[in-house]
């Protein structure tokens, strides 16, 4: 096992213009926000972003103009409603939105992870969603009935925020695990940020908790509050107040101001956390 611990700046060099970048987490849960900020600060463009359920991650990348295509089964802020920048860009055609479902994403990733050319299944037949995906329908050699070929989905890089990891990238992902482990298996490269970097001895205490082993990971970054404003169980819950003010800035045409104040005008995620303030962090903190 090699050491993979690097700075987020170093890790983000893996990401290049135009890549298909997958993002772990789900909507407002455990999004790799510090890595997203790094992408935004580096000025990478033309990304094809894939995620099961997008939230502030997708909305920020779209707002900053870093994205050409979004592929997702859902993009929104759950109880807070629409993702405003994503929605506007999708409606005006500034980005292309490929609407998936949970199954169409998982099937494509499963095909890749298990070295299949495609997954044959009848799910989604007859829906407009499948039509728009343009997937081929063929006669099954087993039953002779029409069946959909769900082609491989191969992300160039996947960004994941884990609760804990050692310096080799043996990681523990908790709570809403979404499809992170599957993304890691199907992706060419994986950048993992972790709330805590712990010793390998610590990881060895309960090996069954290591649901994302180092064999699937290429770079490891340590970042406290690395999922903010989304949640990271058991350490902190989501900062809904911050997200409400973000949505307000989008509504009132002040999104560029937000981007400058919190991301592009700063040198690091630590500066962002300072800008968010200790008081706000205390509000959401659940466990040290």
């Amino acid at each position: 096992m090699s050491r993979k611990l690097v700075s987020s700046k170093e890790a983000s060099k893996i990401i290049k213009d135009g890549m298909r970048v997958a993002i772990g987490g789900l909507t407002i849960h455990r999004k790799p926000m510090s890595l997203i900020h790094e992408v935004l600060r580096s000025g990478i463009k033309g990304l094809r972003v894939l995620t099961l359920g997008g939230g502030p991650d997708v909305d920020l990348l779209v707002a900053a103009g870093a994205v050409e295509v979004v592929e997702a089964a859902y993009v929104g802020f759950e109880i807070l409603g629409f993702a405003p920048n994503f929605r506007k860009a999708a409606e005006t055609g500034r980005i292309k939105f490929t609407e998936h479902t949970e199954y169409s994403i998982m099937a494509g990733l499963q095909a890749t992870a298990f070295e299949a050319e495609f997954i044959p299944s009848k799910l989604l037949m007859g829906t407009d969603i499948l039509k728009a995906l343009g997937y081929k329908i063929f006669d099954s050699p087993i039953t002779g009935e029409p069946i959909v070929a769900y082609p491989r989905i191969v992300p160039d890089v996947t960004l994941i925020h884990a609760q804990r990891a050692d310096q080799h990238g043996n990681a523990q992902v908790e709570g809403v695990t979404a499809i992170d482990l599957l993304l890691a298996k199907a992706s060419k490269k994986v950048i993992l940020s972790a709330e805590r970097i712990v010793t390998t001895d610590e990881i060895m205490k309960v090996p069954s908790m290591t649901n994302l082993p180092s064999t699937f990971v290429d770079a490891v970054v340590e970042c406290r509050y690395g999922a903010h404003p989304t949640s990271c169980y058991p350490y902190y819950t989501y900062d809904l107040w911050h997200m409400i003010s973000y949505l307000e800035s989008a509504r009132t045409g002040k999104i560029d101001e937000y981007l400058r104040r919190y991301i592009t005008g700063l040198d690091s995620f630590d500066s962002y956390l300072d800008e968010v303030g200790e008081e706000s962090r205390k509000k959401i903190q659940m466990q040290r």
């Binding site: 909507t27 089964a73 859902y74 807070l80 409606e91 829906t127 908790e174 695990t177 107040w241 409400i244």
Partner: protein, 276 residues
């Protein structure tokens, strides 16, 4: 008899759809669904299994538990017997199809039971919605599909959905005999292949047939002497208000726009004061 609110009437109707031994799966952003699962567990379906947070956390609920916005994931993990992955959620849905109950909230639903959470309108006037997530995958597989609509309006109940997401009863792809239920603030509705389109199962007390016709965007037959929905019992209301949702988080699903944000902020302050 207690007085009750439209959301409480709906929650009780939803809870009645859950049978003992069912597996109840929770999707995204659905406090009303979770209240109804917990209510069913505390009343007629104590054996039911609940899968929370898009389904990957299986919880053990042995007595009425409180729902939360701010601590949703934390409360679920406190009661977790298993933390799986989303792939495993689907493996469960596929294996236990006949026992799964999952309450979906459609942006549009048509008279044939087709649902849409993708987009409304087209070209210049197109509205991009957040997306159907898993609804289009699994809804046609279930023998029982339950939709809920907190605001029964013409823009939700349309002749034909603008975009086909969750398939209704016309679909050839569905082999099983299906029954689709729709619970709204006005009544309970049903759609099956035998009749072919939506009809009334029961009307909530105090709601007139005219009110339903006015707020439904297609012809809906309402025979004379139609069933009236059994109102919530005192015990059900007490469980909802005192044990499961004392802060009244459920009302968020009935609200929209600024009113919802304002209510949400008030709820968050109350939850913050109770931080574990």
């Amino acid at each position: 008899m207690n007085s009750y609110t439209p959301d409480e009437m709906m929650i009780v109707c939803m809870a009645r759809e859950l049978q003992n031994n069912d597996i109840a799966a929770q999707g995204l952003t659905t406090p009303m669904a979770l209240v109804s699962y917990y209510l069913a567990k505390a009343t007629h379906a104590p054996q039911a299994t609940i899968m929370q947070l898009a389904g990957n956390i299986i919880v053990h609920i042995d007595e009425p538990r409180r729902i939360s916005i701010l601590y949703n994931e934390f409360r679920a993990m406190e009661r977790a017997v298993h933390q799986g992955t989303q792939t495993e959620v689907y493996e469960t849905l596929f294996k236990r199809t006949a026992s799964i109950i999952e309450f979906f909230r459609p942006a549009q639903i048509d008279k044939y039971g087709n649902s849409n959470n993708s987009l409304i309108g087209k070209d210049d006037t197109m509205i991009r919605l957040p997306g159907g997530f898993g609804i289009p995958d699994v809804s046609p597989l279930y023998p029982r599909t339950v939709y809920y609509v907190p605001r029964h309006e013409r823009r939700v109940f349309v002749e034909r959905v603008d975009y086909l997401g969750g398939l209704g009863v016309e679909a050839k792809a569905t082999k099983t005999r299906r029954q689709i239920r729709v619970v709204t603030n006005l009544g309970v509705f049903k759609i099956d292949a035998d009749f072919g389109s939506m009809r009334v199962h029961s009307i909530h007390p105090g709601v007139s047939p005219e009110e339903i016709k006015e707020n439904t965007g297609f012809e809906i037959p309402i025979p004379r002497g139609i069933l009236e929905t059994t109102p919530p019992t005192d015990q059900e209301i007490e469980l909802i208000r005192e044990k499961i949702d004392p802060l009244n988080i459920r009302q968020l699903e009935m609200l929209s726009g600024e009113e919802r944000t304002k209510t949400l902020l008030e709820l968050l302050e109350k939850e913050l004061a109770e931080k574990p």
